[in-house]
Each structure stands twice: as C-alpha cells, then as structure tokens.
Symmetry: D2
Subunit: 284 residues, 4 copies
C-alpha cells in the first residue's frame, strides 16, 4: 500500500494496439503494473485508460518518465497526466455555515482515508472558525457581496497560491464562483444537495418536498462555468416518504452529502477520474 | 387475508379528536380495525388517514356505511372514499411496442400479487397482440396521429366504458393523452423511465447517458394535465457507470420500470395512496 | 417542533376498540395528537401502538397522566411506557480504539440531530481520550481482562449511576458484556459490523472477504444475553466487488456503521422503537 | 454489438509483464480489443484478466487461436478459457412449483437480453408444464424421492447430454443435487432466496421474519458440493419492515430473485465471471 507508485491517466483516439503499447512502455522499463483499467467510448471513438505501477524497480528515473512517455503519446494524439503517489495533494475546503462536510473531510483526512493535506479553510461566514482552530487549520473569512465579489475572488486566488493548493473542495459553499475564477483555478469539486439534473440551483430540498419525490440524492461534480452542469463524479440517494418534512430531507441529505463528497474527493485524489466531454470515467 | 374488508381513505382539515372520532365510528358499530395509519401535514393543516376493518361482524350493512360515515364527515369538511376489498377493480393496460411491463403485470395478476382483472389491452401498435391472445385478453389496436387523436380517444373512452374499466395503466404507452381525455377518465397511472423531475419528456435514457449520471431511475405517477408532473406514487433507482451505454441504461431501466409500476399499481389497488395537492401519502 | 409532547408506547393483546380507547383517552382530556401509528401482529395476537400528543392544552398534569392511563391499560393487559420530550436522555458512549462512530455521535448531538446529552465516554483503551477532552466529555479508561472483568463491570455500573445514564451506546466497543451486567443495565444499543445474522462474532469483514460476498452491511440492535442475537433496530448495506480488499470493506463499513448506529439511536431516543419477542416495531 | 468476438478468461500467478504479453498476442495478430479488464489478488498472488476482441480482421483462424495462445499461457502456468460470441450456449432451466424466475428467464431470452437458447425445462413437479408448452420448450417431469434420486439424476444427466446443455440454471428448484451429479455436470447456477451467508438452507423467509431483519436479499451462486456455499456471482437486497409478514417477504423476495438470477446468468453467458478459490471476479 505504502510503496510509491506512478499513475498515468490517458485518453486518445481509439485504434488498435493501444493496450499493448502502453503496457509495453511499463514492462520494457521493468515496471510492475498493480492496477490497469481501460474504457472505450465507441460512439466518441475514444480510448481511456488508467495504469498504475510501482516505482521501485522501474528503470526510468522519475523526472524522465514524462518525457519518455510523451514520445509514445504524441503520435497517438493522446492527452495524459502523470501522478506520483507520494506527492501529497493540498486541499482547500470552502464552507459557508454548515459544518457536516467539513467535519467529515477533516475526520477522513486525520484517519488517512483521504491522502491529502488540508492546510486551508475559506468561508464567506465566520461560523466555523472554531472547528478550524480545533484542528489547527488556517481559516480565512472572506464575505462576498455582489459588489465585492471580484476583489474577494482575487483574495481567494491569492490564498490558493500562497497555500499551494491543488484542489478546492466546495463543502456546502453556498456561493457561485465567477467564470473568471474557474478559468484561473479549474480544479474544483462541488457537492450539490440533489440528485442532479433534478433540482439544480437553490433550495433543492424545499423543491423536492414540494414535488413529492420518494427518493432524494446528492451529487458531487467538477465545477464548470455552467452552474450545476459540470461532469458528475459520484451520486447517491436515500428513500424518503410523506412523513419527511423539509427539515427531515435536509437531515437525511446531510448524510448523503458527506459520503458522496468524500467518495468523489477520494477518487479524484487517487487519480481515478478522467473527464471527457461533460462526463467522467471513474476507474474505481 | 381473504376475509372481506372495508377501507376508508379520508382527508380533512386538521383538528383535535379526529383519530378518536373515526375510530369510534368503527368501534361503536362492532368493527375490528386491521390497519389504521394517519399523517398530518402541519404546513397544509391537513389530516389524512386510512382505516381498514373487517366487514364480518360489522353491524352496518354495506350499502349504509357510506351514508352513516357521511354524517360524521360532513361537519369536519372531510373528503373520503370507501372501498370494499371484494369488489375487484378492472384494469386496462395501454402499451406501445415494449412488452416488459405488460408481461410483468399479467404475471403478477395471474399469481395474485395484484388483485384485479385485466380484461383489456389498448395499443397504438399491433406488435403485442400475440401476448394478449396468449393470455386471453382483448387487444384493441388504435393507432394515433395528430389528426386522428380526438376521434381515437373517443374510441378509447368507449372501450373503457364497455369493459367497465376502473384504472388505466400506461405500461410504456408512448403517447401523450389529451387534457380532454384525462378530464373524462382521471384514474390513470403512468410509468416514466426516469427519476423525475430529472429528464421529463422524451428519450430520458439518451439524455441520462449524455449527462453522465451515475444513477438512473423510474417513476410511477398519476397522470395529470401537465406531462410528467403528476403526483408521484413510487420511484426507484439503479447504479450505472461509464461502461453503460444507452442500450444498457434501457436494459437496466426495464427492470426498474417493471417493479416501480407494479408496486404503484398494487398500492393503488389496495387503496393505500391518497393524493393531496400534487403529492401522495402512501400508507404502505 | 420544540413544544413539549408526551408519547405513549403500548403493546397489548389484540382486541376490538383499542384504537378508539387510546385515542379517546387523549381526546377526552383535550390533547392534540401529532403522531399516531399502530401495528397488529396477527400471528402473535398483539397490538402495538405509538401515540404522541402536545402537552400544551392537555388537561391532565404530567404527574397524573401515568396513573390515569394505567387505569385504562390494566383491564387490557397492556404494557406501556410514557415519555416526555423535554426530559433529555443521557447517553454513555462506549468505545475501544476506533473513533468514527464516537465522532459521528458527538457531531450529531452538537448539531441537535440527536436530542440527548453525552456526559460520559467509557473505553477499554486510552486512545480516544483526546477527543473526549476536545469536546469536554468525561472519559473513563477501564481496561478489561478476563480476570478483572467482574470488578471492572462493577466500576462501569457505578459510573452509569453516577452520571445518571439512560442509554449505553456501544460505538465499536470490542468487548462482550456479561449477562450479569446486561441484567442490571438493560438499555444498550450495539452496532455490529455485518449484516446480521451473517457473520456474527469476531472479524466479520475478514470473513466477508473470504466468503466473497457482493454486499456488506451493518446492524444496530439492542444488546441481550445472546451475543449478536438481540432485537434488530436498523440495518443498511453497501455494494462491494472483488476489487475491495479487507481494508476497503473496513473503510466502506465505517460509513455504514456511522449512519446505521445514528439512525438507531435517534429512533430509540424518539421513542419510536417497541421490542416484542426478539423483534422490533419501528414507528418511523 | 453483433460482430463476432473472441474472449479469453485467464488466471495465472502474478508476475511482471502479463498485461503486455496478453495484449501483444492480440495486437501482433491484428486484433482489435474492445474490452479488457484485469484484477490482481495480491494476497493470493494471482492475476486474473478478461480480454475480448473482434474476430473480424484477426489474422489467426478460429481453430488455431487456442493452440497459439496455449504456447504463451503454458510457461506462465496460466489457466484459461476461450469463448466465441457467436457460439450460442444452451440452457436447461430447472424449476419446482414457482414460476417467476422461469417466466423471467424466458422473457429475457425472447427479448434478447440473454444470448442463449432454452431448449429444456426439468422439474420435480408437473405444475409448470403449461408455460413450457406456451413457449415451445421441452418439459420433463422428473419427481424425486430419497430412494429414486440416483436413478432420476441419471435421467437428468442423460437429458442434459441429449439436449447438449451448457448451463443448468436452478430457477427455484427446491431439491439438493448430489455430489455425484455436480461432479459430472459442474456448470450450475442457483438462486438462493436469502442474502447468504445469512439463512442458508430451508425456509429463509420464515427465518428472516423470525429474526426481525430490516433488509432481505437474494444470492446467485455457482453450485458446489457444499450446499449454499458456492462462489457468489451476484446479490441484491430490499428493505422490509415490521409490517411485512412472511408472505410479503416472499413477494418482495421474488422480485429480487428474478433480477439477481438474471444478472448472474447474463454475466456468466458473457464470460464475465472468473472463479478462483471460493470467490468470483466479475468483470462487469
């Protein structure tokens, strides 16, 4: 488990021999593949794969692997990412007033379910500062109004840079990010408190109660310019009944939100998620 | 199980003493309650209840029960329905080309999971005539075009009357019914092949594949003037992945559609569903 | 929500008129029922019910209600409990080394999902003391060996008395309680990390991996003399695959254990669980 | 979908280069891989893979593929099976008195969800003969008593041979097969009406009701000498409550049994199931 590995996430136009070519690259350099998975989207003519192998015994030094693989990837028009398991990503958790997802992420990080550091919490409210202190995490209160949004987002970007953040997790951050912000920092996972595409936007639990649905859900997705329209990473649902009032939906939903967000963050951090079009392949 | 029972479904403005008043009506007439359930929607100020009791030993003759209860219900401004378990409802199943829900309903009816008769199948296609013959059910092929819709719906209404139909089940009937039709025959249950309100309208599985959802669903609801907006009776879901192409979603969805529709029809036939506003209370 | 209510949980031999009699008791004393549910187990000839009503406007003073209802209950041979919603129960959480259920219960108590106080944590290990301190809860480390068990259980009982504990929650307490202990303090809920009756006893996740099951579960139950055989309050499951090794089952299981235990504790605290025989009726 | 493919299912001791070697075999002979999946059980030191490729354009003729691959497999100590998608397997469905799984399998076969032929039904009861006739399938009534079992099993084996059966599906066949029979015909899938290993043996629904479980399940598994102990292919569950009596568990269970058995049969027929030890890898 703890021996360092390298992971390639690759997508390229489908053609014969891709599995062989990629596997040969690892094998001919002495690598031991410990996980390989692939998917072909025939309608898109696209081949997508994830290969993870042990760095121990691999003949190429780390800083050469990328260049070496690039020479194989280029003629195939492949897009690819290379990750090393011992480079621990740094997460900024963004919250508003609700603490359940924040608490949950911190617990999972402490108990090593999530292999990442959480050096930074950003909030548009002061409410959760105490939790940050309890766990020794920097807390920045950055209130947002329509007028102050541009300058506040500039501050947020500065903080992401200062803390060397790799991933922003919107853990019930009840604010819309500007297109400009997303363009500058595109690595963002959000938890939406409905089974998208049902009930996008505000107050999904109230609308679910009004509609009288018998099941509610939660959706973790990458954030794109289109609100609640980004690629879905994970979803889950729970059964409700006429006995559940809005506050019961909110309570039941919190349990969903926690696990759905945590699963999505974990999959992302393990480099198991490949986005193509507006969809994801999840090599779970 | 087989001893005849009476069931009251009641909704009325909430006030003190309702449970006592309704229970006393049964008890003072010697009735043995075998199921009683109630729900109060506090925001709507509405009390809803279902009471089922054995007719054996009940002092009021059947044809008097309604009048007797009416005198209690009227001062409470209660809406109510009275059903007897040995009056077997008659169902018309409407289909297009797909046979899975039809097959399933027939099997459940034969194996006595569904206490009803199915004397009539109506379809806008000729494809499923053979199944109807196999099971000895009348099959009426009524093709629909925009031009012929009014006259064809007239024919359909005639058939419902001729066969003394109590409930129409749209078992993958891929046509929209006119408001006029619904006004004249409002007892209609439809199965929609998505987790409403996600993907209303046509081709939900294609749209689910495009959106990249990780879970798909099916929804059984009463049909109202607003397409796919009627009160939801039952929903269920199944997990899908990037490996599932549209045809896989369709295949997995069929299993959902069968059970969700069957559960809804069974609940309706057992008088366990009370509609209020655009929602249902399901006394399951 | 916050107005005080009284709740009666009643079980008695089935007979005509029970719903009416109990409802009349509330109504004749001016009570407003806000929740009533009942169940008849016909094979056991048993009627079970839960009735909750508002104390405001109820004509009987609190300390009279029990006696008044007792005179109705006695001729019916009814067993009953009376609870008041503003009497906040006190919970002792017992743990060993794992913190996920403890953390979760504390979070739910703080966020008022669980209406109880948690003044006491007991553990056979010192590991989780820090969490207790973080949240200001007394932590008693009581190590157990086969030899010291009787005296240590005596200490535990003393603590339960000292802290006026109403309910013990075994939140991954990896020790078996003696029959003697259970006889003296019978209000205990345990979370077992399998879908009982599959994999009772030790190491259920290892055995689940060995058996190659495709779904794992968790079970919250009342503790009785027979290990892992007590009345089940709540269960839930999650899908696993060949890719999940024992450590993955443990990780996925933790998410189940948290929610299943929390749901059971909440149902118990809301007086929604009635035990009869070795089963429960859950008036959810 | 309909173009013929070849599928290799391989298991062998884990070592470097396996993915490359197998992929190279396909690629060097001009094959286009359309599905490849692999799994390493590190504790067992075992590598397991499924590779499916199009026969069109593959340079090796069909009858040579096995020998050619054998020369690669032998030095690796690999166990392997080779299947061609256009060789349609032949199923014998064995039933007792219940018809729901039989009906369901026939429907799926007719609607091409299951790519197989069903030329034979065997039953220890005469009850389902009519269904066999309705669908033009041979029906053999072979009653079993403890005394006649050996000779009757001989008849059954004869029928399997006569009808060239590849797979026996026990679709609620309420008889135990002898070890001798299983040794002679080991390709058998059974549906057990519980969430194994809970409630093995007889009357699982009665025992589930007695135990008061809140969830019931069904399990499809390969049949081995140890009753209800064979490798599990698929399981699923459904929630139940105190309101569900034994007959409700049976009814809800039927819906589970149908889909769980159908999924298992489909996975098996698509050569997606690899057994090792007493477990399965399901390349779904």
């Amino acid at each position: 488990m703890s021996r360092p590995t390298a992971t390639l996430l690759i997508s390229c136009p489908d053609q014969k021999g891709l599995v062989a070519k990629f596997a040969n690259f690892i094998y001919s350099n002495g690598g031991n593949i410990i996980h390989a998975d692939q998917h072909t989207d025939f309608s898109a003519g696209l081949f997508l794969t994830r290969i993870e192998w042990e760095l121990e015994g691999f003949n190429l030094p780390r800083d050469i692997i990328g260049a070496a693989f690039g020479s194989i990837a280029q003629p195939l028009n492949a897009c690819w990412q290379l990750h090393f398991s011992d480079q621990i990503p740094r997460i900024a958790v963004w919250v508003s007033r609700q603490d359940h997802c924040l608490f949950d992420l911190i617990w999972r990080q402490r108990s090593q379910e999530i292999a990442a550091e959480i050096p930074l919490i950003i909030s548009n409210h002061p409410h959760l500062q105490e939790i940050a202190e309890q766990f020794g995490i920097a807390y920045h209160h950055i209130p947002i109004t329509p007028d102050t949004k541009p300058e506040q987002e500039a501050k947020q970007l500065e903080l992401l840079q200062k803390y060397q953040i790799d991933l922003v997790v919107l853990a019930k951050y009840m604010q819309v990010l500007s297109s400009d912000f997303i363009a500058q920092f595109p690595h963002i996972i959000n938890i939406h408190h409905s089974f998208l595409p049902a009930f996008p936007g505000a107050n999904p639990y109230h609308r679910a109660a009004d509609r009288g649905v018998k099941i509610i859900g939660a959706t973790a997705h990458y954030v794109t310019q289109d609100l609640d329209e980004g690629p879905i990473i994970e979803q889950d649902v729970v059964r409700v009944s006429h006995r559940d009032q809005v506050e019961d939906l909110i309570r039941k939903g919190k349990d969903l939100e926690r696990v759905v967000l945590a699963r999505a963050v974990r999959l992302h951090l393990q480099n198991r998620v490949l986005v193509y079009g507006n969809r994801t392949v999840v090599f779970a």
